[in-house]
């Protein structure tokens, strides 16, 4: 009896470990600083996580399909720079669709290379990380981009505005998460993404056009990146070429923290949102209790390792690895 209770607790911990850790975190921080668990602060966290979160939604598709996307950071820099530049040249109404189109082209290129040409996604997106960074610098001539007339444009609405009393970045994040969550969980396409990531060969043997599914996952990712770039540009109304640098790894960390396996076939949008919020709350909580942002890095490290460790430990039924 005691044995089985112990096992049950172990199972529960392993299965919902992330949520439990999340809850403990919130309780701990709330005790340390009562301001932590307030609606204002919650809004604060979600808003500051929105850009990372939107990108993580797209990367979730890519990771579930069994691939990686390390280019989202530099792609986000690209879309931010492009939309800021075009804003003054074409006006916001044309600049936004033009930026989306250009970003989607990059996503399509990666999707073509990984999906149709079957190249290794780690190396392709590593190469694209560098190439897109170069492209951005070439585009901008290395200069920072700024919107000249910051007051006379409605462009700020995406990053700084309010709709029905909710800040737009939050609204965009929630709406996109709901939309993509439904696509992944409820549509034939979502089912195929899981099949391709779970066992690509079996998916092909079931008549699923695997290349097309992978291609579409990268399109999803590019779409999310473009949206994130839009929020970023609109929030700051000006930007450096390196604004997204390093974000690819934080995004991946959030997705993994949500429990998606790098081998593909598992993960959900909901879990990714949780992963994003955990990262956001850690950052915010540590800040509120007066700790430096650098501590956040270290804490994130420990949490990622623990989360993945618990996950695979539950699957193999043993805490320590069997590696001799």
């Amino acid at each position: 009896m005691a044995e089985s209770t112990k096992q049950d607790i172990g199972k529960l911990l392993a299965k919902q470990g992330i949520l439990i850790a999340f809850a403990l975190f919130i309780i701990g921080f709330t005790i340390a600083n009562p301001k932590f668990l307030t609606l204002d602060n919650f809004e604060n966290v979600v808003r500051s996580s929105a850009i990372l979160g939107v990108m993580a939604l797209g990367v979730t598709f890519v990771v579930i399909s069994g691939n990686l996307d390390l280019s989202v950071g530099s792609m986000m820099s690209f879309s931010t720079i492009v939309v800021l530049d075009l804003h003054d040249k074409l006006g916001p109404t044309l600049a936004i669709p033009a930026m989306f189109a250009m970003t989607l082209c990059l996503g399509a290129l990666i999707g073509f290379l990984v999906g149709y040409l079957k190249l290794n996604s780690l190396i392709v997106t590593l190469g694209m990380l560098s190439a897109i960074h170069g492209l951005t610098l070439t585009y901008s001539g290395g200069k920072n981009m700024d919107i000249a007339d910051k007051e006379g444009t409605w462009f700020a609405i995406f990053g700084q505005g309010n709709i029905l009393g909710i800040q737009t970045p939050i609204l965009i994040f929630i709406a996109l998460a709901a939309l993509l969550g439904i696509i992944l969980a409820k549509t034939p396409f979502g089912r195929k993404v899981y099949a391709v990531g779970g066992n690509g060969t079996a998916a092909t043997f079931s008549g699923i056009r695997r290349a097309r599914v992978v291609f579409l996952c990268y399109i999803m990712s590019a779409l999310c990146v473009a949206t994130a770039g839009l929020i970023q540009a609109s929030r700051s109304m000006g930007s450096q070429n390196t604004v997204g640098q390093g974000l690819e790894l934080e995004v991946l960390a959030a997705v993994i923290l949500g429990g998606a396996s790098l081998l593909g076939g598992s993960g959900t949008i909901f879990k990714t949102v949780i992963g994003v919020l955990i990262l956001g709350f850690i950052q915010n909580g540590l800040l509120l209790v007066g700790l430096d942002f650098s501590v956040q890095y270290v804490v994130t490290w420990i949490i990622i390792i623990l989360a993945v460790w618990l996950d695979i430990a539950a699957k193999r039924g043993k805490l320590m690895s069997p590696i001799a």
């Binding site: 439904i182 409820k186 549509t187 034939p188 089912r191 195929k192 899981y194 099949a195 779970g198 066992n199 060969t201 079996a202 998916a203 092909t204 043997f205 079931s206 008549g207 699923i208 056009r209 076939g265 598992s266 001799a324």
Partner: protein, 509 residues
């Protein structure tokens, strides 16, 4: 149950007593005992899943037994791992090649125990000398420095065998060693085995090939469903008896004698070739007919199925469905045209193990099961329920992950997945591989029923009783070519074996 050894028998090199090994949900070995005498070749037989491999892994130190004893030279021992087993003189030659193909022959033979000097420096001179000495014995055409990846599969197998000769072995376990060897290479292998025998080494030999077993072994032990069935002297028995011990009943050699009206030609193949895989293949399948494809592994049967299913591009020839010529370029294409393929590798090609039963079953038609933009839950569950009942799939519910089901139930999920597509042509590749006897019969009956309902069915199998039992006509293949097509009246075991061995030059389209 223990075997009786008469007083004159020498001290066994290896003895297993009442070995029990359980895996979650399965009692893989249930009190198995086995004695290997010095200088004998001892065959271990049993159907797939009977526990042979598990037993050998226990012997080789890869698995630890839950109960029972391993006795080497009259001393009870505990094998802590493969290296420990090797140190005790028990060498295991794997069925799946376990070589590092980027490394040299010598490094592979001495993998894990490279001779070295001070500071961990490899002693290349000694390594090469020792290796060459072994290779000479095996009379192979490569040397110590050859990269293993550059060798043929058969030569890689010889490298694997060379490993056994590196130690002063008391017992050597061969797991299906001839699966990928040519006849000439088999002769060399059998010579090596007989050399070992003369040196007093005990040999455990696992194989499905009866002719080999009766040629080289002294005694035969049989396992069934993890249980020891007994040991017989090879000289005192015959194939039929051994088979009976393996499957626990008399071999059902009943022919397919069900005759019903055949319909129109559903699939016709003319002059189909695909590079070096198969050449000039001609056959047709009618509605209501089961056509069996029989041949050795590598004869090109699976490749024909894959070509029909759009997974390979034919180099020449044409395919007709219901009389109209078609070009099938992808599985998606094949499915749209009403072809279904139950692939041979259930776990690798048939199922997404991390998905639930229902999702696996409806995967090929998920695009057609829509309610608005979404997958129609109700329709999916209806399909699952229908085929669960029809095929008697035993699972707690559709939410169960396929990876948690038994082999037979997994196979039924794959079959259900393709039946629910209501195909015109159903191709089934090795439908009963790794499935228990009971499920086998069920699947055979199912295939017959499908034909009776008007499906055109192709069954690819390496098991003769299976094709004889289910097929109306049998296509015999050898080395990428159709040697002969038999009707169920014409076929005999002898002429079938002759055809798939390439002995029969008479070709009938």
């Amino acid at each position: 149950m223990t075997e009786i050894i008469d007083q004159t028998t020498p001290t066994p090199v290896l003895r297993l007593e009442d070995i029990v090994k359980t895996f979650p949900g399965v009692r893989a070995l249930d009190g198995v005992s086995l004695t290997i005498l010095p200088g004998e070749v001892h065959a271990l037989m049993g159907e797939n899943g009977a526990g042979k491999s598990t037993l050998m892994k226990v012997l080789g130190g890869i698995h630890q037994p839950d109960e029972g004893q391993i006795i080497v030279a009259e001393q009870p021992v505990v094998m802590s791992g493969p290296l420990d087993a090797k140190a005790k003189g028990i060498v295991f030659i794997h069925q799946e090649l376990s070589l590092a193909d980027e490394l040299s022959v010598a490094e592979n033979i001495y993998l894990g125990e490279l001779p070295h000097k001070r500071f961990g420096l490899v002693d290349w001179a000694e390594l090469e000398a020792k290796t060459n000495a072994i290779l000479e014995k095996l009379k192979v055409g490569f040397n110590a420095k050859t990269r293993v990846g550059d060798l043929s599969i058969a030569n890689q197998q010889m490298v694997e065998i060379a490993r056994a000769l590196t130690v002063d072995a008391k017992a050597v376990i061969f797991d299906e060693p001839t699966a990928s060897l040519t006849d000439a290479e088999k002769v060399v292998l059998f010579e090596v085995i007989s050399d070992l025998q003369e040196q007093g080494v005990g040999i455990a030999y696992i194989s499905h090939r009866m002719e080999e077993i009766f040629k080289i072994t002294d005694r035969i032990s049989v396992l069934r469903d993890g249980q020891y069935q007994g040991t017989v002297n090879t000289a005192d028995t015959n194939e039929e008896n051994v088979t009976q011990m393996m499957i626990g009943r008399k071999l059902d050699l009943s022919r397919n004698e069900a005759h019903h009206e055949l319909g129109e030609v559903a699939l016709e193949v003319r002059g189909l070739s695909c590079g070096s895989l198969f050449e000039d293949v001609n056959f047709e399948v009618r509605r209501g007919e089961v056509v069996g494809f029989y041949g050795l592994v590598g004869a090109g049967r699976t490749e024909i199925a894959e070509t029909l299913f759009g997974l390979r591009n034919p180099t020449s020839g044409s395919i007709f469905l219901d009389g109209a010529e078609v070009a099938i370029t992808s599985p998606h294409d094949a499915i749209e045209r009403g072809i279904s393929l139950v692939p041979e590798d259930r776990k690798g090609q048939g199922l997404v193990l991390g998905m639930n039963c229902r999702d696996n079953m409806t995967l090929p038609q998920v695009d057609d099961l829509k309610a608005g933009p979404f997958v129609a839950d109700g329709a999916e569950i209806a399909i699952f329920d229908q085929y669960r009942d029809k095929l008697d799939i035993r699972t707690p519910g559709w939410k169960q992950l396929v990876g948690n089901l038994s082999g037979g139930n997994q196979q039924k999920i794959v079959i259900g997945k393709w039946l629910s597509m209501r195909p015109n042509v159903l191709i089934v590749d090795e439908p009963t591989r790794g499935i228990d006897v009971g499920s086998k019969a069920e699947i055979h009956n199912l295939l017959r029923d499908l034909a009776a309902q008007g499906y055109a069915v192709i069954v690819i199998s390496s098991e003769m009783p299976e094709v004889l039992h289910v097929a109306d006509r049998i296509v015999a293949m050898y080395s990428g070519r159709i040697m002969r097509t038999f009707t169920s009246e014409e076929v005999t075991e002898e002429n079938l074996i002759a055809a798939i061995s390439g002995l029969n030059t008479e070709k009938v389209a």
